[in-house]
Amino acid sequence: MNRYPRWKYFVIVIALVLGLLYSLPNFFGEVPAVQISPANSVVQIDQALLRQVEDDLKQQHIPYLGIISDASGIKVKLTDTDTQLKTKDELQRALGDNYTVALNLLSASPDWLSGIGALPMYLGLDLRGGVHFLMQVDMRAALNKQLDRQTNDVRNALRDAKIPLGGVSREGQNLVVKFKDAETRTQGGEELRKSLRDMTGVQLDETRIALTLTPEALKKFQDSAIQQNVLTLRNRVNELGVAEPIIQQQGLDRVVVQLPGVQDTAKAKDILGRTASLEIRMVDEEHADLQSLQNAARGLVPPGDEFYPSGRDGQPLLIKKAIILTGENISNASAGFDGRTNEPAVHINLDTRGARIFAQVTRDSVGKRMAILLIEKGKGEVVTAPVIRQQIDGGQVQITGRMSVKDANDVALLLRAGALAAPMEIIEERTIGPSLGAENIAKGVHSVLWGFVAIAIFMSIYYRIMGLFSTLALAANVLLLVALLSLMQATLTLPGIAAIALTVGMAIDANVLINERIREEIRAGQSPHAAIHAGYEHALGTILDTNVTNFIAGVALFAYGTGPVRGFAVVLCLGIITSMFSAILVSRALVNLSYGRKRKIDHLSI
């Protein structure tokens, strides 16, 4: 009657072993480490870099516990915080500005555990300390800027078509175009419809037309604006040397920036709020020979030039100081393919002023190179330096040549990200000091621990052996929950720990239901075996019902909660799933294992 087939025990044992394995890393604690990640898209993390780091460490006689290379960068585990600081400085010096070397804490669990993907739980900012910003992108301001740019396009389109224009002005989110009379208005409207594809017009009165962006163009504009802001922020955060920054779009017009471990909020805010600019300048072809470049590297830079020791492909360049265009004139940049050769390419759209200047410059400089530079903090970086093949009219620029698709994407993003597309404002800030984080962990862990101990003592006294089984099942529940949270790398917050505690308190309900039912059946005169069987059977429906209602609450909290509350909801929902498994299957397995073999139980300890 109370027997499980062998496979059921097997499944339970496997689940528990996996649970133990994946929750194990949480018990090892952390060791200091430094993390090396690329500071820009020019460089990559590869085997060569790994070897270089290893050689550097050996040369400097820095002892280290291990080196890990993964998608986010190279991580070096170290013995103590003093070595950590020394190593950071040493590696930063050796690797140069193309890499960010940041302090980090890594799990001290053995490598074979990390190898099977067993990592400690991912702690939220309230537990590890750090800064959280929620930034609102001012789309209205960005749109206004875009419309201001387009007034030029309107003027030029009408000038080219030789239609007299009364005036263009931006009113709200519209461009109002004024004509002399109804006839020119009709002609003008026709012309604008043809040449400005992403705008639609409405006739206001006899002489005026109001232009707005089409919904598609508006959406595209907003998407690219926020993407651009995210990329710019990411580039800036790289400078801060944060080990695991999170920069994400949230909703339509918001960006979340989380910087674990950062305490200097003033500096973080300063860097996040800074503006960068993009400049297009000519490469000095008269001094492009090896001799001039070598001289320049020694400091003999020709007058009117600036020396850039490493361009995009690593070649040194001498670039003229005179600025041809700035990022202001670039209205869009996207990655794509060359129409004829199918090579990856970057397409750049210039506004009308930019197009005019560009046409002039390219006419005079066919065969020469022009450089696109990203200027931040007065320091420039060469994004790309293509050769001009022919005169470029109309402001549609295409850059091709020895680029992978990824390169093209990077360049396009960098071009767009040069400056923030839209102004941003911090609408939420949370800073948690590191000591508070550690305290929060201790408080949370104590709450769970003592709550568990109290329940364990009570259950074992009140229900005796059956209570002990319930307690073991509850322990299995916590184990599985922690393992699941570690495996999913869901963010654990203090409310999340509270949810673990609450799960412990609520999961015991299932076992109480079962035990009470068994007692009742025994009172009703059933044999112990029949009582156990009936107890589990009858309680099952009720347990399902109660868990479903809890689950509904958890899902709603997840859907509409933010930040820490969402962490609470995740744990609550996962806890319900694990508690169903452990309260029903694990406790039953224990009961079956100890009582199932006996033909008759004289006395059930309950």
Binding site: I426, W450, L502, G505, E516, E520, I552
Partner: protein, 311 residues
């Protein structure tokens, strides 16, 4: 060991009128406080800045406030937080002042007055975020109610769904009433606690309803009141033990969880206590008065059976 062993069913339903009156009075009081005093919403909802600082030794809030006033911050509210050396500074939202500058100014002013001050936590919430949280919170509450009602209506019968949700909304309103009366800070974590109480205390009603349904099937002769009395008595032990266990954990949070979990645990405690009361003494009489009869059960039962081939 056994705490609860009842020889005879306790006639809960005969006291139904008086128990409902008691809960009605509590409910009306809670609504009254909510209407007159309102909730003391935390910074997440109202917007503003909260700065928590730690000193090496005890520090008077008035002194800190004085230091801030010298720096031109006149509208701060300073309180002790947990211990006498931990302080919390609240600043309202101000037009045109960015959070970035504000927290730096505050810290600068505090450092000038007492160099050993340590910044523990800064929270700045803009006005738009707060408004969204209020609306999101309300949506979540409505969703939980709707979800639970639909589930219960499907699993039992609509009368049970309505009775359970009334009983549980009554719990929620009473929790809010407490927070209003004592002017405890109503934060996002408390909202999470309130919502989980909603999910949790419905459990209680479900357990009783389950037993009522079973009894209707088993005892063909008894009256509805007798059946409900028996169901409540039979589940009594489980109710007290389960809630007692949950409360042990909640108490552990109250004792060890610190300030952040304090009100969370408090809300849960109130929710657990009133959850027992309401599901036993509010939802069951409601079911009776709404006229649940055996026929409803047999029909609902038949429907459930045809839907569920296994049973």
């Amino acid at each position: 060991m056994e705490f609860f062993r009842f020889k005879r069913d306790i006639p809960f339903m005969t006291y139904a009128r008086s128990t409902t009156v008691v809960s009605l009075i509590t409910f009306i009081l809670a609504v009254f406080f909510l209407a007159t005093k309102g909730l003391n919403f935390g910074v997440e909802f109202t917007g503003g800045t909260v700065i928590e600082v730690h000193y090496q030794q005890a520090e008077e809030p008035a002194q800190v406030q004085g230091a801030l006033e010298k720096a031109g911050i006149l509208d701060s509210a300073v309180q002790n937080f947990g211990t006498s050396s931990d302080l919390i500074i609240r600043l309202p939202l101000k037009e045109g002042v960015s959070s970035a500058q504000l927290s730096e100014t505050v810290l600068g002013a505090l450092r000038a007055a007492q160099p050993d001050v340590e910044l523990r936590r800064v929270e700045f919430i803009g006005p738009q975020v707060g408004k969204e949280l209020v609306s999101d919170g309300s949506i979540a509450l409505a969703l939980v109610c709707a979800g639970i009602m639909i589930y219960l209506a499907f699993r039992f019968e609509w009368r049970f769904a309505v009775a359970a949700i009334i009983a549980n909304m009554h719990d929620v309103v009473i929790i809010l009433g407490f927070f209003s009366f004592f002017q405890w800070e109503f934060s996002l974590t408390v909202l999470a606690a309130v919502l989980s109480v909603l999910g949790y205390s419905v459990n209680e009603s479900v357990v009783v309803f389950d037993r009522i349904r079973e009894n209707f099937r088993k005892y063909k002769k008894q009256s509805v009141a007798e059946i409900i009395n028996n169901a409540i008595t039979a589940t009594m032990s489980r109710t007290i033990i389960t809630h007692g266990c949950t409360e042990m954990v909640v108490l552990s949070m109250l004792l060890f969880g610190g300030e952040t979990l304090h009100y969370f645990a408090l809300a849960l405690t109130i929710g657990i206590v009133f959850g027992i009361y309401s599901s036993v003494l509010v939802s069951s009489p409601l079911v009776m008065w709404m006229g649940a009869t055996r026929a409803h059960f047999i029909r609902a039962d038949a429907a459930a059976q045809s839907a569920n081939v296994k049973s």
